[in-house]
């Protein structure tokens, strides 16, 4: 173990933890100005390569490596860009593989182990960066490019992402497995690294990338549709502002009416209640029971103005009533005179009276009952009829027979 390297690494990490607030501030805001930090701390951070100053007299920014570390560990995808330079990474891997094989060939095992470790580092870094790339694209797709608000910006971001996917796919094509497998030869460790590990990551990434591409295209379609709809609305407002008298032609006058405007009028109305349906009786009763108040729409009664009433008209009405009573009286007299029993309807027919038969019967019964008990004793009255077939307790009178006792 290299003691010096270990010591300075520990020192760096300690410095990072000691000045974590400054670093996080620089990470979130993008830069820190010299006035915010004490010169001593600033010096230390500059020396350790945590901060740097891109321009003279400018603010201090975080070094890319520190930023990458934070982004990777915090899974912060806000402005993360991964630049995968596949060609140079592959070249480095191939070179290291050759170093390793040469060292093995000459039996320098300690050295070969070092090369193998480096090689592992490179291969895993490459696979990690590929996986990160896909993850980043997915997270952008999943929040639908939520970090930009306008649809136009989303469309631009989408196009950028698509070009990145194409780039990555092109770069992945640079991995030639036949070359790598030849290079690895029959060395087990090399084969595992160059063929197995890379191939696994290769298949996973290409599969995911094609999914990403499909999603991106779908999203682009949706964004374009949004933009089209918004433009349609805005265009309509603009047009009708510029041409206030604009009215679309009446397309329903065309010989061929577009399907869009062929919309039939509503046909069904609510069905009415059938009170004779015995099956629904329970429900209907329940409904009626729920009615709290009965609001009959009373027609506003018009109070007619006071006017003089002619007595003659009233007298005429009275006459009408008294004719019926007189006829009943005559009927009673006829019974007394003749001493025969005759039914009210028979008398009605015989005398060819023009009263309604029902009214006649009522009047006869009423006439009998209006007599004194003493006079009632002379007459015998009997109703012929039958009990009501449905409603018990009611008696239907068909005729009345009247006679002397």
């Amino acid at each position: 173990m290299n003691q010096n390297l270990f010591q300075s690494g520990v020192k760096l990490l300690n410095a990072l933890s000691r000045h974590s607030e400054v670093i996080m501030r620089a990470y979130l805001v993008g830069s820190v100005s010299a006035s915010d930090i004490s010169p001593k701390v600033l010096d230390q951070l500059l020396q350790l390569g945590v901060l740097w100053r891109p321009e003279q007299d400018g603010d201090y920014r975080l070094k890319g490596a520190v930023r990458n570390l934070l982004e990777g560990s915090l899974q912060d995808e806000r402005n993360r860009q991964i630049d995968t330079n596949m060609a140079s990474a592959l070249a480095a891997i191939k070179t290291l593989a050759q170093h390793y094989k040469e060292a093995l060939h000459y039996g320098r095992f300690a050295e070969s182990q070092g090369h193998l470790n480096d090689l592992r580092e490179h291969v895993y870094a490459l696979t990690e960066s590929l996986a990160n790339h896909v993850r980043l694209l997915f997270s952008r797709i999943n929040n639908e490019f939520g970090y930009v608000s306008s649809v136009d910006a989303k469309i631009r971001e989408n196009q950028l992402a698509q070009s990145q996917v194409t780039d990555l796919l092109n770069q992945i094509e640079l991995i030639r497995f036949d070359e790598l497998s030849e290079l690895a030869g029959n060395n087990r460790d090399l084969r595992h690294l160059l063929v197995v590990a890379l191939q696994q990551s290769f298949t996973r990434v290409t599969k995911e990338q094609s999914a990403v591409q499909a999603r991106l295209l779908e999203l682009l379609g949706r964004f374009r549709e949004f933009r089209g709809k918004t433009r349609l609305l805005k265009g309509f407002v603009l047009h009708s502002d510029q041409h206030p008298d604009f009215v679309p032609k009446d397309y329903t006058r065309f010989s061929q009416i577009p399907m869009l405007f062929n919309q039939a009028e509503p046909l069904l109305r609510a069905a009415a209640v059938d009170p004779n349906n015995v099956e629904q009786e329970a429900e209907l009763q329940h409904l009626v029971g729920q009615i709290r108040t009965i609001n009959r729409q009373r027609k506003h009664e018009q109070h007619s103005a006071a006017k003089s009433i002619s007595i003659e008209v009233l007298a005429a009405v009275e006459m009408d009533d008294s004719r019926l009573r007189e006829a009943v009286e005559q009927y009673f007299c006829h019974v007394i005179d003749s001493g025969e029993n005759i039914t009210a309807l028979q008398y009605h027919q015989w005398r060819a009276l023009d009263f309604d038969t029902e009214a006649w019967l009522y009047q006869v019964i009423g006439g009998y009952q209006s007599l004194d008990t003493e006079e009632q004793r002379f007459f015998a009255i009997e109703a012929t009829g039958e009990p009501h077939p449905v409603y018990s307790g009611n008696y239907l009178i068909h005729d009345v027979i009247l006679g002397l006792r």
Partner: protein, 211 residues
Amino acid sequence: MMNQQGRVLTQLLQGQFICQISDEEAWRYLKNSANRDALEPHLNLLNRTLTSTADGDVFFVGYTALGEDERKILGQQFQEVSSSLRPLVDWLLLVQQAQGSDVPVTMGTPIRLTELQTIIEDTPAFAEQLEKISRYRLFGSTSTQVDGQIKQVFKRLTDLGYLLKPNPEKQIFIATGKIDYLYEVLRFIDETESLSLAEQAQMASEQGSLL
């Protein structure tokens, strides 16, 4: 009990628009072509036929044969549609702008009334716009307060079938397929009258960005 076919037929004959939002079950039923074919003879009997918007996501009923009477009814309907275009378009733009997401209101877009109201109350330009919209005859509000205006507008839109209030206790509305129908009407007018509305809007926004 009525079966699904009867239920869908009833809704269609009542003049309803059926989309995934307004009635998902009926919509799924209509998405199946065998079901549509089974429904068609019933409708044809009444001189009606099943119609859908271009993307086939909103169903409604139209006439099979067009006589004088039918034309008269369609003419009236068209007058109503074309006179309500501007109020509806203004409202759609207001909601889109107030929500700040630059995404147009389409079928399935949820609108939270209280949130929208807060934004409109805090932004005088939006409040002015709402005032103008609520005065259209389509909405017919006479209120001077944002609260009354926005409630009246949303109530009318719900009555007209453009919005749906899934939970009566919550002030959350969902746009139905009738909104998509509206876009299609606009697109149709745009194409038939060669207005090139989208190009006009694009040009205006480009000129706006130059100024």
